[in-house]
């Protein structure tokens, strides 16, 4: 706690810089809203049909065989949730969770890297250097800010808006305030280093005592819970950011899928429960959205896994979500219904969901969403009634 105090003093001397760099993190924004948005990017392409099998589809067993969880928890509309996610099933029954099967961005190729970039920059084919959430911050209806959890800033938050920061815990002793001051002087003409160091100092002050929580090290399922807990701590701070972005890696299950997913679904389910606990009362006004860059093939491959597909699954949770519902449409698994005779055909444009959440959860204007934030996207109308 001493340390935090010292750092706050240093920051006071840099108030002008820091308020410009990270207003939501460093300064109380006044009429704070408790409405929060947590964006979880499931990197590597989660198999949506393994997470939420449509167990009454007549073709599912022929296509997927052992990939269909026999113990899946029946929800509604013929869908069942993988048995490793009982917490989310309970949230669904309490109307705090909803699912969007067969969702995809406008991209129709199958490269992880291109797909993640396009999902995050919000473009149709050409990757831009800035992310849609960063552009959204430039048009925010109030003094919003966002934080990403993890050692590198994801593309969705990169760009011109500076009220975005990233955080992961320290593992080494900290530099003295005098050294920081000198370094900030040295960075006077270096925009990249100055902005990053200033934002880091601001984020550190808020993160407080997270150092002991065991984050750091390799990415993977072991990190899911601590990352979501860290996001919850940031959001729950008085005057904390409105939006948190968490990247959970390791969903590319080309082989041995059942075992890998058992572990990942468990970690995701536990992580969302831990996030809820961390948020306390704020959970009631929070919307959580988890999505991958695309889905996976309908048919099982040679290694007990699945390959890159198209239509995927979005998971929505939180007290703000109008839950207990399956959203969008189910295109069906008949060979003739599949996209390119291999993938689930997309029924919902991911941008529609993003827009619906930004508009109805946090108050963005439709005009900005259709043009400046998701460029040339008027055709992908915001989904109404998510929250």
């Amino acid at each position: 706690m001493m340390k935090l105090h010292r750092r706050s003093l240093l920051l006071a001397g840099w108030a002008a810089t820091l308020v410009a760099v990270a207003p939501g993190v460093c300064a109380d924004t006044g009429a704070a809203t408790n409405r929060k948005l947590v964006i979880i990017i499931l990197r590597g392409a989660m198999d949506g049909m393994a997470a939420l099998p449509k167990t009454d589809d007549p073709d599912i067993h022929a296509h997927r065989g052992a990939l269909v969880d026999a113990k899946a928890i029946a929800l509604s509309d013929g869908f069942a949730l993988h048995s490793a996610m009982p917490g989310l099933a309970a949230m669904y029954r309490a109307n705090e969770a909803a699912f969007v099967p067969a969702i995809a961005g406008p991209y129709r190729e199958r490269s992880h890297f291109a797909a993640q970039d396009l999902l995050e920059c919000g473009e149709i084919s050409q990757v831009s250097a800035d992310g849609w959430l960063n552009r959204a911050l430039l048009k925010a209806p109030a003094a919003y800010s966002a934080v990403s959890i993890g050692p590198s800033q994801p593309l969705v938050l990169r760009g011109a808006a500076v009220n975005a920061t990233s955080w992961s815990p320290a593992v080494l002793p900290e530099a003295s305030d005098d050294t920081l001051q000198r370094l900030l002087d040295l960075y006077e003409n270096d925009t990249v280093l100055k902005a990053s160091l200033s934002a880091a100092l601001g984020a550190d002050r808020v993160a407080g005592s997270m150092q002991a929580d065991g984050m750091g090290g390799r990415a993977g399922p072991a990190q899911y819970v601590p990352q979501l807990v860290a996001a919850g701590k940031f959001l729950a701070q008085p005057g904390g950011p409105q939006i948190a972005v968490v990247s959970l890696e390791g969903w590319d299950t080309h082989a041995g899928q059942n075992q890998a997913l058992q572990q990942r679904f468990t970690a995701l389910d536990t992580g969302i429960a831990a996030l809820k606990a961390q948020l306390g009362d704020i959970w009631k006004t929070t919307a959580v959205m988890a999505i991958s860059e695309f889905g996976r093939t309908v048919r099982i491959n040679g290694g007990g896994g699945t390959d890159h597909g198209t239509g995927g699954l979005a998971i929505l949770a939180g007290g703000a979500i109008k839950g207990g519902r399956m959203l969008g449409d189910w295109p069906g698994l008949k060979s003739s219904a599949l996209f390119e005779d291999r993938d689930l055909r997309p029924a919902v444009d991911a941008r529609s969901m993003f827009k619906g959440l930004l508009r109805d959860q946090l108050g963005w204007a439709s005009g900005d969403l259709d043009s400046a934030i998701f460029r040339d996207s008027a055709a992908a109308k915001a989904m109404g009634g998510l929250v």
């Binding site: 050692p151 590198s152 920061t165 992961s168 960075y187 990053s196 750091g216």
Partner: protein
């Protein structure tokens, strides 16, 4: 002027200047780099490190020792778990040794341009230690498939990289089976297109180069049969012949083999070209065609220009590298010389932001590995989010400023600099460090800040964090 060029040679082309290196390169900076373009420059001693075959043999020993199937019950089960943990511990220790050897070599080699060149290609053909199957293979893969071939023909490097057990396991090709083979029918198994897709997207043509999903599937079928010897594959092959596998079927484990019974029969068509003939020849013929494809030349040229010029390199630089690749038939020594002779890469402004690994290696070269790492290489790399052999995806580590300069990344760099500055201050002066590591690249502001520091420790923190040392 040539002092500045020597500093650029050692830091932008090389992996950072060791004490006295800038002075050595001053008389002829381009010649200093050119002399490193020779096959032996990238080979590191394998003493104490395991080969791929040794890694597989150790696993087989374990399998033989473990005896019956897991879950047989009681005390045996526990003993088996203990042995499994032992094998995994060995694999982790093997990886730690690989990291140390690689790190030590980078910190001490006089041929650090060759080492940067090696790392560029190793990243291009990423095999990461991501699970129990790959943890022991990533290190041997780089030493066996990449290091000896980075100054030869691109086609040869491509062949060695793809047809190495490390890559075949990492990208799931080992159990990709031709869908119409007997084995697939009997074992309810089939095609895995991961490797084929990544070769087209990452290793050769590049994304958006005009290949289709059909090309990926056809290429994946051509690649079926290429796998790694071992008991599992022996059983699969035997299943295709309608009988149970026998020990006698297994040749030495850990060898890349072509198992005809797993290969999808018939001719293949990839990028409009028909590949008939012997199944075994199909994949090699397709790889050869991809290696010389104009899109591959372009893809490689763009990546190299990005690595040596800037995140957004000018078309002039790309075009020169593309031409060098095309005219030489993908000769990588010619391409390396084209990089050295690329005027755009010698601009005085430092536009490339160092990755954490580049930062650590350059600090180790300037102040000694012990000072930079304190004997805990792997932990330090991990704390800066770039542990060797653990790239997050087959695309390898990112090579642009935005990926590495976020708020948290800078904080971690500062924490590291602050921690190591105390060790460095014991034996070195921070001003001498700046002079030796940066030479004429160090600006007046940085020299002043370092010389006015309140202690040698603080001087080192500022020197390591200075914009000129964070970039190259």
């Amino acid at each position: 002027m040539s002092r500045l060029l020597a500093a650029i040679a050692a830091t932008r082309f090389g992996m950072g200047a060791r004490a006295g290196e800038i002075a050595d390169a001053t008389s002829d900076p381009r010649g200093w780099l050119d002399r490193q373009v020779r096959p032996g420059a990238t080979v590191i001693p394998a003493g104490g490190l395991s080969s791929t075959r040794e890694v597989f043999a150790a696993r087989l020993d374990y399998a033989a020792m473990a005896g019956g199937p897991p879950g047989a019950g009681g005390a045996d089960d526990e003993a088996q778990r203990a042995r499994q943990q032992q094998v995994q511990r060995q694999a982790r220790e093997g990886l730690a040794k690989e990291i140390e050897a690689r790190s030590r070599h980078a910190a001490t080699t006089p041929d650090s341009f060759a080492e940067r060149w090696l790392r560029f290609w190793s990243n291009h053909f990423t095999v990461a230690a991501r699970n129990a199957q790959t943890i022991g293979l990533a290190g041997p893969y780089e030493r066996e498939a990449i290091r000896p071939h980075v100054f030869g023909k691109f086609a040869v490097l491509l062949g060695h990289a793809i047809l190495h057990p490390g890559m075949l396991v990492y990208l799931d090709a080992v159990r990709s089976i031709g869908p119409s083979t007997q084995v697939a029918q009997r074992r309810d198994a089939g095609l895995n297109e991961n490797l084929a897709r990544e070769i087209l997207e990452l290793h050769t043509l590049g994304v958006g180069a005009g290949y289709s999903q059909d090309d990926i599937v056809e290429f994946a079928k051509a690649l079926t049969g290429w796998t790694v010897s071992g008991t599992q594959i022996a059983r699969l092959v035997a299943a295709g012949r309608g009988r149970r596998g026998e020990q006698g079927d297994a040749i030495e484990p850990g060898m890349v083999i072509f198992a005809e019974p797993l290969h999808e029969p018939g001719p293949r068509t990839v990028l409009g070209k028909r590949y008939g003939g012997e199944g075994k020849q199909q994949a090699a013929a397709i790889l050869d065609a991809l290696a010389l494809h104009p899109a591959t030349a372009r893809h490689v040229a763009i990546k190299l220009a990005r690595h040596f010029v800037s995140d957004t390199p000018p078309e002039s630089a790309i075009a020169k590298l593309e031409a060098a690749f095309t005219k030489s038939g993908g000769d990588l020594a010619t391409l390396a010389r084209a990089v050295i002779n690329l005027d755009e890469a010698w601009a005085p402004g430092q536009s490339k932001f160092k990755t954490p690994e580049e930062l650590l290696v350059s600090a180790a070269r300037a102040a000694g590995p012990q000072a930079a790492f304190g004997g805990a290489q792997r932990q330090v790399y991990t704390s800066l989010a770039q542990a060797p052999f653990s790239a997050p995806s087959p695309a390898g580590w990112p090579d642009d400023t935005a990926a590495w300069s976020g708020a948290d990344a800078i904080k971690k760099r500062l924490e590291w600099a602050n921690a190591v500055s105390q060790r460095m201050a014991r034996n070195h002066s921070p001003l001498a460090f700046v002079e030796g590591a940066l030479g004429d690249l160090a600006g007046e502001k940085t020299r002043q800040a370092v010389s006015r520091a309140e202690s040698a420790e603080q001087g080192f923190t500022l020197a390591l964090m200075a914009p000129e040392f964070q970039r190259r």
